[in-house]
Amino acid sequence: MKLTKGFLNREPRKTALSFVVSLTLMVLAGVMSGCNDNPGVPVTGAEKAADDEQSETASACAFYKGENIVVVTYNDGTDHDPTVTYGPNSRKVIAGASLMGWSYSKNKGQSWTYGGKVSPPNGWAVLWGDPAITDDNGAYQYVFMSNLAIPNSKMPANGIDGSVIVSGADSYIGGACIARSADGGVTFQNYQCVSNTVKNSVPNSDKGHFYDGGSMASSNAGEIFAAFVDVTTSQIDVWRSPSASGQFAMLPPPFPGIGICSHPRLRVRRADGALYVAAQACNNSVAFINRYINGSWGQPVAATDSGVIYPNVAFGGGLTLRTGPQFSFDVGAASNENQSDAIRFLYTRRDSKSGRLFVTGSFCPASLSPGCWGAPEWGTTPGNLNTPGDQFNPNVAAWPGFIGIDPAWKSSFLDRDGSVQNAVTLRQGNLAYLPNGNRIYLPFIVLGDKPVCPDTRGYWGDYGDLALVGFENNIAQFLVTTSDSSLGCDRRWDFDSHNQHIRGVVFQ
């Protein structure tokens, strides 16, 4: 190939240009994403003396009276009261207990105000966490959040000692309760409880099925959706309210004939209002996805390869962390006109060779047809990056883009890299493409070497959240909320540990 001095001929020059542009963009992206010196702020529990705990988060962004309000709900142990008491090896829960607490921020997560707790409504004895939340995309002043709940009919007169599960799918939990805010998340009131009371072979199923997990979403038309894994039937129960003031009614099952074991995740596609639900099958941990559009479900589609459900993560020194759902997805801007990757997943797998956990990607078209594709370039798939530890608890959040504001595909995960004992690093990265069409993933530190402080069951908040909270300089900003034991770990009981709070970091 003939070259002219000082210049490249066309093809090599094009290649070199492409390389340089790619490199520039990568470095720029790296600078913007990786240079995060922001240690975040406490969403809860800023004071060390506070003998109360918060864990597990879900977040949303509302708009009320000219203000953007970010709302985070969590399992709330603030101001321990006699309804939940702990001993080194015991936990007693009596009627009136509630873990449904929240905080809100009017300055995009720079500081937070404790909102309080919602008390159990009539007919329900306990609100038992696994928080979910959504703003109303049809009327942004409304925010809905949910908790698992114990109905009066299943609540023992003397309270519950220890586990809220009796045996298998027989649990004191018998549904979920939803609270609503009409002022952007500053205050909440009970709205409606949902319960599946179809009797089957599980004892007490007619008093309300055992719900676990929780996810909420909303369409531009103002529909509100809530979903839970119905452990009693191994299905996902999806509830829909037609508006912010409507009644929730259960939709037909999205995964008929498939035994489902994981928490669900819901997302709505802004372009057409389609609802997507995904959850992992019991037998092989494959995440299935289905779409609800024009009043009916399509066919479930396998969206990931076989993953893991609720794996334990072993640290040195015998400390073990239990975990929550190990997949996440969102619906956003596709990289092509075919919309072939409008849905992107990040999920956790275990490497058969090393035994380590890693996060990896996949993508699906908005139509879910003809199916989904693996994207091992996204994540910490063996061969991608030098990530020797365990990576888990993935989250994905997309901004689909608008005039003047580019789309964004953000993800986060926890990394037990082992360099600091009993600590994890929170990382984030874009589910991105290079200009030449190759997928690329470069994770950067959000919070490094966070000390973990689980109770002796391994509980340290089963999940956190990642959510769009605004824009700065026409670039999408995201809030990640995670368990925080930076105040130290001075108590680890069977059902309680201290310190355990929530920290939030906003980044681009």
Binding site: G34, A302, Y310, S362, W373, G374, G383, N384, G448
Partner: protein
């Protein structure tokens, strides 16, 4: 004649700025803690493949049995009472249609010190099955 690939002039400045910013950022991080941002490997990536469709498997039919012989565990959980015997698992039909005690493949139920979790579909330590 030796030829050299040169960077187009208009890209030199932004690239230098970017690398400078990146270096500055990373050096600041390195000052405060061991830098652990992962290093890109030169190993070849696996090719993307279609996610195979998998057979839908319905949930197992579990029997919780009858009677009050279910074992009780220290954390407040219980097993089941299958065929009049304590079972640390659930009743599952065997090939002949007879109900037997089992925990998702573990015949006879879980060993002592473990309980049968319908969420994890396995015998697990009691603390792993709690909520």
């Amino acid at each position: 004649m030796k030829h050299r690939y040169s960077l187009p002039t208009f890209l030199i400045v932004p690239v230098i700025v970017c690398f400078s910013l990146a270096a500055s950022c990373e050096s600041r991080k390195a000052d405060s803690r061991q830098d652990k941002n992962p290093v890109v490997s030169s190993a070849p990536l696996p090719s993307p493949q279609a996610i195979p469709s998998v057979a839908a498997v319905p949930p197992e039919e579990l029997s919780y049995g009858e009677g009050d012989c279910a074992p009780r565990f220290a954390n407040g959980m219980r097993g089941t009472c299958i065929n009049g015997k304590p079972c640390n698992g659930f009743g599952v039909k065997d090939q002949t249609g007879k109900i037997e005690c089992e925990c998702f493949g573990t015949k006879g139920g879980c060993p002592e010190g473990q309980v049968c979790s319908v969420i994890k579909r396995a015998c697990v330590p009691p603390q792993d099955a709690e909520r």
